[in-house]
Symmetry: C2
């Protein structure tokens, strides 16, 4: 797929400029216009730096220009550090000069009200006409570490700007970006990029993601997101990242009502519902962190270590208790704590008679007497245990000065011997020990569950990257749908044409025709009024069930017609539909639905019927379209999934038919895009395996 | 209540000895028998230290004795650091001498097999006969910090032993205890006690808990538990801790199958089911941590800060994004993120026009320009916002050397001004800053969600302590139950006598009697065979439903009798029970059950009927007995609780009748203690509010 919404060449001039102008440059390196000049100089940016200030011929030792237009050579990036009233002129100058990108610190735009919003729109018009990519306004800037380029003014970003980092950070909050950058420095972790997006007049979080997904220096992306403006662009960015196997760790706020209210008051972004982001993250293998520490831990682990080839993990510990803790946590994070082969267990028993040997392998305090034990045991697990990954708890080994050098060497040896294995470790360690082991490619944690959590996340990324691409190409549908609420027969027709299994019916316009139609079906039938004006058919007596002979059908036809005419005298009644009463013995009642998210378009919902949806909110979502494999994963996410597998000797439900229907529904919804408001197939009966599924009712509402 | 199972005076001689003998003392301070002498000396233990070693007249500068019997003065504690074969003699010497307690490091007992287990039982007999309290064998020892007493040999416990700590740690794993002690040292946190229990031949984890619950120095207890031996003693310890308002933070391993397997292979303790521990922790307000970091974070926060008076929390932040993160997390942890009064919001708006003012209060980066803003805003929230607690994110304030002194002072002022308020803060901070602020009574975290998590835990402790005591006194029942599986009428009778609402019935022994019985009830009846030998009544045709006239009842009587006689020719048939068919319209089907936990005795289960129990495992447990308040909390814990509140306009269920029944069932079960194997009331119909509840069926199995 070619990128269509994310334009990488133009973003390159913004994020990886070869020359930088600072408009509003100051001689005082502590001022907002002075800091970027000072940062660029101290980072040793290797392109030209052009201070722009009409009042000073020289700024911080550099030749200054009165106006950006006066610079003879090309300017890739212009940093705007001028007060509000001067912004418009500066942007016009940039357009005239033909700069590639603008990073705008200036505040007082959409975040402060209507007038600011209008001015921001005006500026957006100028830059878009001129082909300039703009970050901000009201942002804290960007840093490109390998390019030694720091376009920022905030003291929190006063960090060591040099190549070697692998973590790219995109943040919709400047303060959050600052905190993360400080935490990285404190942990001794280098980053590749820091991008704070501010008001997103032009460049949005999705553009940044797309750029980093294609950046060779960036191996993992940390994303702080409150909401996004352009859903399709976000989808494109997430697809790029998955295709290029760049793990994304995200913090998305507003999980709870209190949080969502706080987010709404904080950001001017249009936020899709939290459940939609959750669905999206699952679809694209994005890891959703719930704290800054977790966010950082996972990001650093990916940057330092490697993704495991399978979920099969060997746990090794010097304390039985910590072994149990790791086994619990690893299991909850989806890792497979598979038992060691018996023959390997026996070998370990020879070394340490009282060792726990199933998995976790507990080599006990014996490691204090035999320093080679840990290395030998890990070697055995990797060579003969069939594990692709190891999580080790090393106790006090890493904080023991006498042992430190020996242990550093053995971890380095392990990495050399087992190049494919993914390893994380925990326990006490000195800062030096941690640095050396991490340098060898093994993330080191204090807390045992953080080592299992990190490996669990990494295994999740590997699974997501290994999946077949699960968003089918769906073209726009050529046929337009009727506007407004479709009648039930219209809804059944269009869904049936979209390969969804729907109940057969006959639309009849006389009692005789109804009787003839009923004869076409085995067993009793149901009769329902068909009229666009009557949406609550049951309430007005427009539905009759269990009609088992000609008289009953005739009575029903006449009775429904009379009731409908009485209830809605002016309604255009199209007729009465006759459909077979479907036996739901042995079938599971489910609900398939679609609703339109304002940002991401059609979102498909699945759940079991009745109280499962209402009381338990046991439903799962995916952004349309998706394939059968994704539908199969989706189905297994509801808590009530065991009901579909068959309870109390009941046969398992036809999961293939269900998955096929969900995928078909998603393609249908995607093809009609924004035209669809909601679809409900309730009940959607899933019969025992091999016997298919069928929608007994359908409601379809389009944008009118 | 007087302590009956936990004997505090004898534990005091063990845990707070005035004199210590070290049997097997060594002159080499690095050896297992040398370390305790060295630790006691370096900690400046202020009682006599008596090294015991038949081969040396002096050990590490102290006069040594050939045998503990040779010591003239009383010996409270004897540390046993002798190899396995010498243990029995040393214990006999201790018994002869009349020591108060033994801490036994020696290994090779129950943990290594049958022979060791037998020797351990023998030693247990000696010490119990002599009135000695023994810790171990196979333990890493105990430390009493205020008493400067370190009875341990492991280098991980080589810490600063001095008064001032408030955290008592009890651990069933020595290595885990060592890791925690190392972490405490690394964080600069003092402890009051460290106790590692080893094989628990005499003193168990519950004794340690009981001692700490009554120890004036200990303000919070950290508990690492894999399982426990004596359930009633554990209940007594938990009750003591709650009564004395000592928060307990627990790590209990074995949540998942993999974890439980690992635990089983690691420990020789008899473990109750994990769900029972979970129930117990909820009942007694114990906070269950799922990582060592969380365990420690909560423990330290309680030791440093204070419990909030209510759940109402004010959040304050210098970053909108972090505010949202805190609001989400605080809400998920049960805190009430209540909106600020409008008048107070207006005052903040005057200071910072773009501030978020609902709650979180986002004072923005403006705090960098106005250092007094944070203090003023917090003062306002406490004085006029109606909050009893504050969680603040201070951004880079605490890592800014220029501001440090000012900010330290303002936090100290806040604590002085608002003595009742519970405060936790997060953000960047230097070690010195953290130390000063924590010294003032405010726990400081880097991670914002750890500050909300800690406050949430502290609010939970406050709620638990404020609850009326919820374990009623239940004496043993005077009436014995029939052995084995009771008949349905017996089960209904005993439950009805225990004030549980059960379906009325008549036991009939002829068709005429059955007809007469049916006439006593309105509407149709049900007939069921009554025989101890027939447990699956339906399977053999022993149940007939919906009998609405005399003939039907007569037919049913004869038919059931014939079927039962045919299916079980030798069975003693007591008759046929006739009961009304109960209309379940508008009622919710639930299940009330009891099962006997081998450690904790009767455990009561509650859930909705059918697939809620089977597929969703949506059930909740409590250890019997408990009162109606506890039953009410229990009912609200199931995910399907909204079903009981009334869905789709259905009336709310009679929750009071349900709670009364659960409490009554728990008292009945407790009164019969170990005699009951299982009780099942399924279905137990809960009718709309005011209309009560009724058990339609009951199964009761006693120990035979």
């Amino acid at each position: 797929m070619t990128a269509e919404l994310i334009d990488l060449p133009s973003l390159s001039r913004l994020f990886a400029p070869r020359s930088v102008a600072v408009i509003g440059a100051s001689s005082d390196p502590m001022r907002i216009g002075g800091r970027p000049v000072s940062f660029l100089k101290s980072a040793a940016f290797d392109g030209p730096i052009y201070p722009v200030n009409p009042k000073a011929p020289e700024i911080q030792g550099l030749h200054a220009f009165a106006n950006v237009r006066d610079i003879a050579d090309p300017v890739d990036l212009a940093i705007l550090a001028v007060p509000g009233p001067a912004v418009r002129g500066a942007v016009e100058d940039c357009a005239a000069k033909g700069v590639g990108g603008i990073v705008m610190f200036s505040a007082g735009f959409a975040e402060v009200g209507e007038e600011g919003r209008a001015e921001q729109e005006y500026l957006k018009g100028i830059v878009q006409d001129a082909g300039i990519r703009m970050m901000g306004p009201n942002c804290m800037g960007v840093i490109n570490f390998p390019a030694r380029m720091a376009a920022t003014f905030h003291p929190a970003f006063d960090v060591d700007v040099r190549p070697g980092g692998k973590i790219g950070l995109v943040s919709q909050s400047g303060a959050f970006g600052g905190l993360c950058t400080w935490m990285a420095r404190k942990r001794g972790i280098l980053m590749s990029h820091v991008m704070t997006t501010g008001n997103e007049a032009d460049v949005e979080v999705a553009d940044c993601l797309g750029f980093l997904a294609n950046d060779p220096d960036t191996e993992v992306i940390l994303l702080y997101i409150e909401g996004c403006r352009d859903g399709p662009k976000m989808l494109e960015a997430l697809e790029m990242a998955r295709r290029n196997e760049k793990p994304i760790v995200a913090i998305k706020l507003g999980r709870t009502d209190a949080g969502a209210e706080a987010a709404a008051s904080h950001t001017s972004a249009l936020a899709g519902a939290d459940t939609v982001y959750d669905a999206l993250f699952k679809q694209f293998g994005v890891y959703r962190a719930s704290s800054i520490e977790e966010f950082f831990d996972i990001g650093c682990a990916v940057a330092i270590g490697k993704l495991p080839k399978s979920d099969r993990v060997g746990l090794i510990t010097v304390s039985g208790g910590v072994g149990v803790l790791m086994a619990d946590d690893a299991t909850m994070r989806g890792l497979d704590v598979a038992e060691m082969p018996k023959a390997v267990q026996a070998k370990v028993k020879e070394w340490v008679p009282f060792a726990g040997v199933r998995n976790p392998l507990d080599i006990t305090g014996q490691v204090l007497n035999d320093p080679t034990l840990l290395q030998r045991a890990i070697g055995l697990m990797l060579d003969e245990g069939g594990y692709d990954s190891i999580v080790a708890f090393q106790g006090s080994v890493g904080a023991n000065p006498e042992r430190e050098a020996v242990n550093m060497k053995f971890w380095q040896d392990i990495v050399k011997d087992a190049q494919d294995a993914a390893i994380t470790i925990s326990g006490m360690s000195s800062p030096e020990y941690k640095q050396v082991i991490e340098g060898a490619g093994i993330p080191v944690f204090e807390e045992p569950t953080h080592a299992t959590r990190a490996l669990g996340a990494m295994a999740g990324f590997r699974r997501a990257f290994a999946q077949d691409f699960n968003r089918p190409k769906v073209g726009a549908s050529a046929t337009a749908l009727t506007k407004g609420t479709l009648t039930e027969v219209e809804a059944l027709d269009v869904l049936s044409q979209a390969d969804l299994p729907t109940v057969p019916y006959r639309l009849t316009k006389s009692a005789d025709a109804a009787v003839a139609a009923a004869a076409e079906f085995d067993g009793p039938v149901v009769a329902k009024v068909v009229s666009r004006a009557i949406t609550h058919k049951t309430d007005i007596g427009g539905v009759r069930l269990g009609l088992s002979d000609d008289d009953a059908v005739r009575d029903a036809y006449d009775g429904i017609m009379a009731a409908a005419t009485k209830a809605a005298p002016d309604a255009d009644i199209e007729g009465i539909m006759i459909a077979p009463m479907i036996d739901n013995d042995g079938a599971v009642e489910t609900i398939l639905g679609v609703h339109r998210d304002p940002i991401f378009g059609p979102v498909v919902m699945f759940g079991l019927g009745g109280i499962f949806v209402e009381a338990l909110k046991d439903v799962v979502f995916r952004v349309a379209p998706f394939d059968r494999d994704e539908a199969n994963r989706m189905i297994r996410e509801i808590r009530a999934f065991p009901v579909l597998e068959g309870l109390r000797g009941a046969p398992p439900a036809d999961l293939e038919a269900l998955a096929t229907a969900l995928a078909a529904l998603s393609s249908f919804a995607a093809a009609h895009g924004d035209a669809i408001e909601t679809i409900d197939m309730n009940p959607f009966l899933v019969r025992p395996a091999g016997q298919g599924a069928i929608a007994l009712d359908a409601v379809l509402v389009t944008k009118s």
